[in-house]
Every structure is written in structure tokens, then in C-alpha cells.
Symmetry: C2
Subunit: 564 residues, 2 copies
């Protein structure tokens, strides 16, 4: 391809809203353009990268036995009413868009569990047709509150979503392992170091699930990992073995005046308590069934709001006058369900906590002695340095981007959608046992760009580069020898199956070198009058410090080595 | 691929709503499934055909110099306000769906002229960057009033839309020719006999445009063609040289009572006029600017409503008491713009037409003498047998399906969307001269199926078949020799790059033969115990009358011949 005919306009500066390197470079190098907030066009270079990523995904998913289908973007809202998920539309967990047409109300697919369960349920009647895993690559739509970082988080994006169907949990586990294997191979070929970590299932449902995380300083997610035993989990799902200290004193607790001290910091300062962990947070919320609940956790941690819970708002406090905002505590609240963070064990303390009266706290409280530890769960977010729940070693906190997510759904959808059953070997009938698997395809363009670039521009791995070779003809518009040599080299490389982008523009060497660095093809070959006289060409791998002069006859071999 | 693991369930009967062969067979053979009216899922076989069609389209469009991009489905409504097309949303010409999200109101792209003009306008600054043609393959959305025939007319469908940008009309003409050439090659490779015909531009705009028509008895469109000179046009755009006869009498016209005779047929019967053409239709309408207009045409033809016009409704008649519904005529209507069909020439007649009074007509009217022929245009639909406007030979009427449409847009969009200009060689600035080109990609699956099938099932052309060979192992579950031979042949064919679907199911020969015919792979190879003993295999092209026995050593050569 000749650069003079390629639709690419490189920019010196990225727009001000491009906060991260991948976003800025994909814009500057002419791979993407913004049409609206979270809505992007892929220009020819962007599509070339996309098609290569899609090709790798298809190859590896086909190789683990999946079959490609293509479901519609539009699905009738009635399917989502059946699963119960339409009730959660508009929440950040499921920000679906809907559209009215002459056929009724339709959902613009944010994910396809309801549709695929309906489609496959109708095709599959017998255990003999299982295992079965289908996938599709398709535009998805989510009304994100804060679209960010270009292709990283958009309102419209390309996703590869896969769904497995099995006769029981054990078989589903095997399909899950096959999908995870396919994913590992995909990320390996994409030159992404991805860690599968345990995660929360959120709006998708199911029990076991894993996020495939790319550690990255621009990530919006965090996971913890244990370098000793290999345990890794999203902070929202991570379990730690943190235990607060046993109380050294046996004194009874007492009430203290804490005027205008409704924050943990203010109370700790007033009462001169050095370790914020021992000033307990008591947070009023509603659980997934809408019943009020009190979450009690160490004061130095944020609450990890369990899925389906919501916090009290002012109007809720007005209806519960016994809960005095800023001064709540678990002692003396008859009838309210209290859940205590797992770090707060029997006998630990002494704690300070709210007295359930304005401007008052209780101090010297011992857990188990002064309030009952009925229910205990991991309510507090895990932090760097917390002991690993598996082996006790210190956990490390890693900032990261989610590249994929896999879920063992079990019967979450097949128990609700009609027809999602199969006949068993013994003439029985069981619901399909499902898994689902998603890769953010357009996001991967950004993730790879974020992982593979330097100050000067992008630096694509060979497997996904828009072109293998960027061939620069210096002064070819005025030097016939250079023009002929460029045409010959271009033809030879293309005959070998290499994708070549030839810079035939009337531009200075400086402009051509800068644009080659910005566009990020893996190998740059430069043809200039001086080298031609000496019988050499300049060859440079994108991230190499130095270019090398290569005899013309050895060019293809040299390029092949750099691409390998 | 083994059929036991492929997600395919063949059906003996098609659902009652499958009115045409392609729809019924694609359902019965397990290529597609309906999710909602006009909304379909492609199952694995359907996706395999789709990917091959897409591959051919990409190859041929790349070969004529186009570049692939991918625009979003969502586009801000403001772009459509700028072009003025949002005012036509909801009409049958532009049945766009819109969706609200946190970013505003967005259109689900029914077509992308506004978006592409914005995108390319921002990338292209100079005539040096032209010519440029971009294309995309993408889901499109139209709120069709009557989705029909499965993939033929849906509310969601896949389209390949291309857009050319040039510095002037002449260069645009060359880009248009290149696109048409690409289209011709695509349809040739898809084994579709397609005729480009002149057409109306409808909601897209522009002057010259062509529909690419596949003659088909199930088509919803009609075109006329002249076998003498090659003229071909959609009936809505066709011009004919039809002229009604000159009046033989010079008598003045007179009023006749025609009680309760408001229809052409009733008047002709009452007045004993044999040729309905001479009982003129006078139809009240509003033109594209909303001004009332009277269209006068021969009584034997339907009005071809010009683009942007709408017919009078009862409420409009109430506001225009001088127009007496059923008795309207061009004589005596002061101030109303009258347009006469081109068949009604000066001196022709004598005609009967409405007297503009209830229950009365005028007879013996001569055009030009009794009413002025001010404006004349082709108002009446062309019919089979009308004389060709180019050469006078009789036109033939052909029922057809539209497979593609190309438009010379000119400045229709670039004059409205900001930034869609380029600098010229002489330091001037001109708007981009555009063309646009669309192929119905998912529709093509249905069109090809409609053209290539028989009573027993589908019969895919080799270029788009989901598999090249359907390999049937008869009794392979109980005969180890057959099973081994099947595995060996399968491996040999796949090593040669053939796509093989192996029927390894525990099913009778009859079921396997019937399903092979239904699925429609180009070549069927049957392995049975009897043939194996004789050292032969049975090979049959899908549409061949008879199968042939082929020695095992000659199998690959025989298959290759049938696929060629």
C-alpha cells in the first residue's frame, strides 16, 4: 500500500481529552477518531489492527472447539423481563440502552445471555449435542456514565462473547477450562501478559468467575496477588487473612462525648487513637432483598459494597430515626441485621464505635463480648500488605485493565429462560449448565497500544501490526533510482506475503522517520540515494536503538529475523 | 468438522411465515433463526456463508482501491439535523431508529452519509489526498413497516456501504465506475446474474444512480429492460416513449352526467369507452415543497408518486372545496399547478376527465386545445410493452430483488456538512464530490439461496458454500472399516485445504442423504461398506442427477473437478 493513497493524517498534538498514551497515540497516528463521547470510528489503520486481532481470536476459539454464530444487536425486552435483568437497566451494573420500533421495545445488546440461552435452548434437545460453546464478535452498547481513554471504555465497542452449554457442573467446568485455555493462547499471541484473577460476578451472575487482567498504570481496576502461593483476585473479590489484635484490657466500655465528630478521622483525633482500624465504621445499607442491614468494618478501610446492596440515603435515615448518621454502632440496635468484617474477630479490640446518639461514641468495646458477631464476611477492601488468605504472605496490589472476563453461570439463565433444558442419558430432563466468556475486542487495540509504545509512538507486536514493514523512499519523487529500488523491494516483499506500507510522499526524511515511529510498524526499511550507491539499505526494528545497514541481497532475511 | 458437534438441527417443515424458498430452506437447514420480526440470528452454517461473502466483497473492493474503515452504529442526531434528514425519520423512505443515552440522542445508523462526510471531511484537506473511497461492513438498522422473507428485508441487517470522495464531477464519475466494476466482479464470483438499472434516488439523494437487480419471481421490485438497445431502469425511474393517439374529431367537449361514477372503471363503463387510457386520472397531491399540485395521467396507469410528494387526504380535500374527490379535472381550476404525464401530448385525445363538480365529467376533451400542457413529466408507471425511450422497441417488465445500489451524490452532503471541502491545485477550495455504494450483505445469503436451490434443498455455489464437501459415513458407528476410511479421506481432503463436513451421526443413509441435499454443500462424498470392498467411493455434485462411483485414488481429482 502506498502511503500517498492511504487515508492517514498524523497529528503533532493529541486532543486535550486524550489522557493516556494509547489514546493520544492512536489519535495522533490516525488509527481512530472520536465521533461522540465514547463513540469512535476506526480509520483504515485501526481496521487493519482490528482484523488481525479478530483473526487470532477466531483461530484460537475455533481451535478449542467453539463455533461462531452471529446474534442480532436488537433483542426484545420481553427476554430481559423473563430473566429479571430489565429491572436493573439504567444502573451502572447494567447500563443498557433500549429503542422503540414498530415491533416493540428492543434492547441494544450490552451482553447476550438471554438471547443465546433462547437460541441454543431451541437448537439443543439432547445431552448428545453437548458440550457446545458458541461465540460471536459484535458491536455492544452500554450507556457508560464516564466513557474514558478512547477505546478503553466506550458506549459502543466490539466484543467477542462466548457461551458454553453442558449437561452438568462437571462438564461445564471442562468447557470453562477450554475457554480459559483459548483465552491464554489469544493473549500470548497478542503479546499481552494477562493474569486471570478471581472476581465478583456483578450483573452477569454465577459463582466462579475470573477477570483477565493486564497490569497497567492507567488501569481503572485493582487486583491483589500473592507472590508466594499465586493467589490473585480483584480487590472487590479478594479474601485476606487480616485479623485485628485481641483486646489487652478487660475494662468495660464507656460512653464519651464526641461533639461534631462524625468522621473516623475526627473521632480518632479527638480520642487520640493512632490506628484508624480500631475506630469501627458502621454503615447502614439495604441488602439484595431490600432489607436494612448494618455493615461494621475497620475504620481504615473502604466498604466493598456487596452486589445488589445500596447505601442509605438521607430519605432512608429519615425513616429510621434510631440510626443517627455519623454516630451509628452495633450496640443497642434491636432487630437490625448486623454483618461484621472478617478482620474483626471474637475478643478483638478495644474499639471505638458510634453510640447511636448524636455527638457520642463508645470506647473500650470488645468484639463478641459487647456485641454479638453473628454474621461475618469480607466487607473491607483488601489492601497491599494484607496477609494472603491462602498462605499468609503479604499481598501485592496491582493496578490493571480488564481484557476479558469468564463466568461459570451454572443455571442462572437456563433456570429462567423457557426451553433451556436437555434430555439426559436416563430419560430425565435437566437445565443447561452454562458458562460465559467475554473479550473486549476494540479495547484490546488500546490495551496493546498502551503496553507497546514509547515516547515516539506506537510499537505494534508483529502479530497485530497494520503492516509488517514501513518502507521509506527518501527523495523518491526526485530520484528515479530510489523510486525504482523502492518499487522492486516493495514487490519482492509483497511476493513473500509481507504487508508493506510504502512512504512515497513528497516529504523530508525527518517527517518520514517521525511518522514511521508514530505509526509503529515492527520493521522500518529505508531506501536512500547514498545507501543505494553503497549497495545497502537501512533496516531498523521499531524499538531498536540503532538501525543497521544491510546488503540488498540480505534484506528479506534481515526483515524476517526482526519480525520473528 | 464433524456433524455430531456442529450446532445444526434440520427441520422437516418450515414455519408458516416462511413464504419463499430461500427463507424456508435457510430455516429448515439450520442456517438462520428468527428472534423477532425482521431480526435474525445466524447459526454456524449461516456465519460460514456470511464470512465467505464478506471475504469476496473485501477482496474485490480492495482490488479497486477502496479502504476499509469502521464507523460506529451510533451517530449523534445533530449530524442528521445538519443534513436535514432527521426531518424525514419515521417515513418509509428513512425509517431510522433513535436511542437516548447519557450523551444525548443517537441514531442507529440506517446509512452513513452524514457520518462519513464528517469523518472524511476532517481527514482530507487537499486534492492530493483524492480520489478516496472508503467502505465498511456493519449492522444497519431500519424500522421496516413489513419485514419479509427472512434475511431479504429485516429491521437489522448487515450492509457493506462505501463512499467515494473526489475533487470534481469528472473524477467522481471515475470513482463511480471503479465501484461499479468492483460490484460486477463481486456478483460474478457470487454466481449472481445482476443487472444494473437506472433508479430513483429516494432518501439518499443525488442524480445518477443504479440499482443492481437480480431477476427473481419473489422480488418486491420491478424493472423494465429493452432487449434491443440494453436500456434498463427501475419502473419508478423508467422513461418510455409511450404517446397517446391524436384526437380524430374536432368537436368541442361537453359535460355528461356520471352519477356515482368516481372511479375510472365506472366512468369508462358508463360512457362505453374501451381504452381506459383515455379516461384521465387527475390526482391531487402536495409537491416536495408542500404546494398543492394536480397530476394528470392516463387512466390505465398507476401514478408514480415523485419523491417528496404526498397525496391529498380527506382533511386536505376539506380545505380545498374546489377539488371534488372522484370528479377532478384540469379544466377550470384557476391557480393550481397542473403536471401532465408525458404520454398525453398536444392534440391527443379525445379524453374523458372530471368536471370539478360531483357526478359530472367532460368528454371529447383534446389536450392542448382544452387545457394547457404546461409541465410534462413521466408520471405514470412504465409497463411491459411500452416503447423504449431510447430505441422504441417494446420494453420488458422484470420482477427482481435489489442486491446493491450505487449513487452519484455529488454535493448533496458535502454542501451541508461542515468541513467537507478540499484545497484545489490552484489554491481554491471546493466541496467534496461524493458517491455512495451499498450492498446488502446478509440479504445476499438469501438472494443466493433463492437463486441456487431445488426441491430438496439449498445448492450453494462453491465460492460461498459453508463446506466444500459433505462427507457421509454410512454406518460408521458400527463398521470400523468405514470409520477409518472416513477419517483418512477427511484428513486428506483437509490437508488439501478443502472444507469438509463429516456426517458421523448415528443415522440412516436416507436421513444423511436428505440432510446433505438440504444443507447444499457443492459435493457429496459417500463412504459405505459395499463401495469400500469394491475400492470405490460415491461422488455427487449437489445438482447432478446421478452420483458416480470413483476409485479411491481418484477421489481428490474428482472432487476438484466438481468444485471448479
Amino acid at each position: 500500500m502506498r502511503m500517498s493513497s492511504l487515508m492517514v493524517k498524523t497529528l503533532r498534538e493529541a486532543p486535550a481529552d486524550a489522557e493516556v498514551a494509547s489514546h493520544a497515540l492512536l489519535l495522533r497516528a490516525g488509527y481512530i477518531r472520536r465521533l461522540a463521547s465514547g463513540v469512535y470510528t476506526l480509520l483504515p489503520l485501526g481496521v487493519r489492527v482490528l482484523r488481525r486481532i479478530e483473526g487470532i481470536i477466531r483461530q484460537e476459539l475455533d481451535a478449542v472447539g467453539m463455533q461462531e454464530i452471529l446474534m442480532p444487536v436488537l433483542s426484545p425486552i420481553e427476554l430481559w423481563d423473563t430473566s429479571g435483568r430489565s429491572a436493573r437497566f439504567g444502573t451502572d451494573a447494567l447500563p443498557a440502552m433500549t429503542v422503540e420500533n414498530r415491533g416493540g421495545t428492543f434492547v441494544l445488546g450490552p451482553t447476550h445471555e438471554e438471547v443465546v440461552t433462547t437460541v441454543v435452548g431451541a437448537e439443543v434437545d439432547s445431552y448428545r449435542q453437548l458440550p457446545l460453546t458458541v461465540y460471536q464478535i459484535q458491536s455492544k452498547f452500554r450507556d457508560e456514565a464516564r466513557p474514558r481513554f478512547g477505546l478503553m471504555r466506550g458506549r459502543e465497542f466490539l466484543m467477542c462473547d462466548a457461551y458454553s452449554f453442558d449437561v452438568d457442573q462437571e462438564a461445564m467446568g471442562r468447557s470453562y477450562e477450554a475457554a480459559v485455555l483459548g483465552y491464554r493462547r489469544i493473549f500470548e499471541r497478542l503479546s499481552l501478559e494477562v493474569e486471570p484473577v478471581e472476581a465478583q460476578s456483578g450483573a452477569i451472575g454465577g459463582d466462579v468467575n475470573h477477570e483477565f487482567m493486564v497490569p497497567s498504570p492507567i488501569g481503572e481496576d485493582h487486583f491483589v496477588r500473592c507472590s508466594s502461593c499465586g493467589y490473585a483476585a480483584n480487590v472487590e473479590a479478594a479474601r485476606s487473612a487480616r485479623l485485628l489484635a485481641q483486646a489487652s484490657s478487660t475494662d468495660a466500655y464507656s460512653e464519651v462525648a464526641t461533639p461534631s465528630s462524625s468522621s473516623i478521622n475526627a473521632v480518632a483525633k479527638l480520642l487520640e487513637i493512632a490506628d484508624l482500624a480500631y475506630v469501627l465504621k458502621s454503615i447502614a445499607a439495604f441488602d439484595e432483598e431490600g432489607a436494612p442491614v448494618l455493615a461494621v468494618l475497620p475504620g481504615d478501610r473502604e466498604l466493598r459494597l456487596p452486589h445488589g446492596w445500596r447505601l442509605f440515603e438521607d430519605s432512608d435515615f429519615a425513616l429510621h430515626p434510631n440510626l443517627v448518621k455519623g454516630y451509628i454502632g452495633p450496640i443497642g440496635l434491636e432487630g437490625l441485621r448486623v454483618i461484621v468484617d472478617s478482620a474483626i474477630v471474637e475478643g478483638s479490640g478495644p474499639y471505638v464505635l458510634g453510640a447511636n446518639r448524636a455527638d457520642a461514641h463508645l470506647r473500650g468495646v470488645v468484639a463478641g463480648r459487647d456485641f454479638v458477631i453473628g454474621e461475618s464476611m469480607a466487607l473491607a477492601e483488601t489492601q497491599s500488605g494484607d496477609p494472603c488468605a491462602s498462605c499468609g504472605s503479604a499481598l501485592e496490589l496491582v493496578r490493571s485493565v480488564e481484557a476479558a472476563h469468564t463466568f461459570q453461570l451454572g443455571f442462572t439463565y437456563s433456570s429462567k429462560m423457557p426451553g433451556a433444558t436437555v434430555a439426559t442419558e436416563n430419560d430425565g430432563e435437566v437445565p443447561l449448565c452454562m458458562g460465559c466468556y467475554g473479550i473486549g475486542v476494540s479495547r484490546l487495540i488500546a490495551v496493546i497500544a498502551e503496553e507497546h509504545h514509547d515516547e515516539a509512538g506506537l510499537a505494534w507486536p508483529s502479530a497485530v501490526a497494520p503492516f509488517d514493514v514501513h518502507l521509506l523512499g527518501l527523495g523518491m519523487e526526485r530520484n528515479e533510482d530510489v523510486a525504482q529500488a523502492v518499487a522492486k523491494i516493495e514487490a519482492e516483499m509483497e511476493a513473500k506475503g509481507l504487508r508493506v506500507l510504502t512512504d512515497d510522499r513528497e516529504a523530508s526524511a525527518g517527517v518520514k522517520f517521525a511518522d514511521a515511529d508514530l505509526l509503529g510498524c515492527p520493521v522500518r526499511v529505508t531506501v536512500g540515494a547514498k545507501g543505494l550507491k553503497a549497495g545497502t539499505l537501512e533496516v531498523k526494528a521499531r524499538l531498536a536503538q540503532e538501525a543497521q545497514d544491510v546488503p540488498q541481497a540480505e534484506l528479506l532475511a534481515a526483515v524476517g529475523r526482526l519480525l520473528a
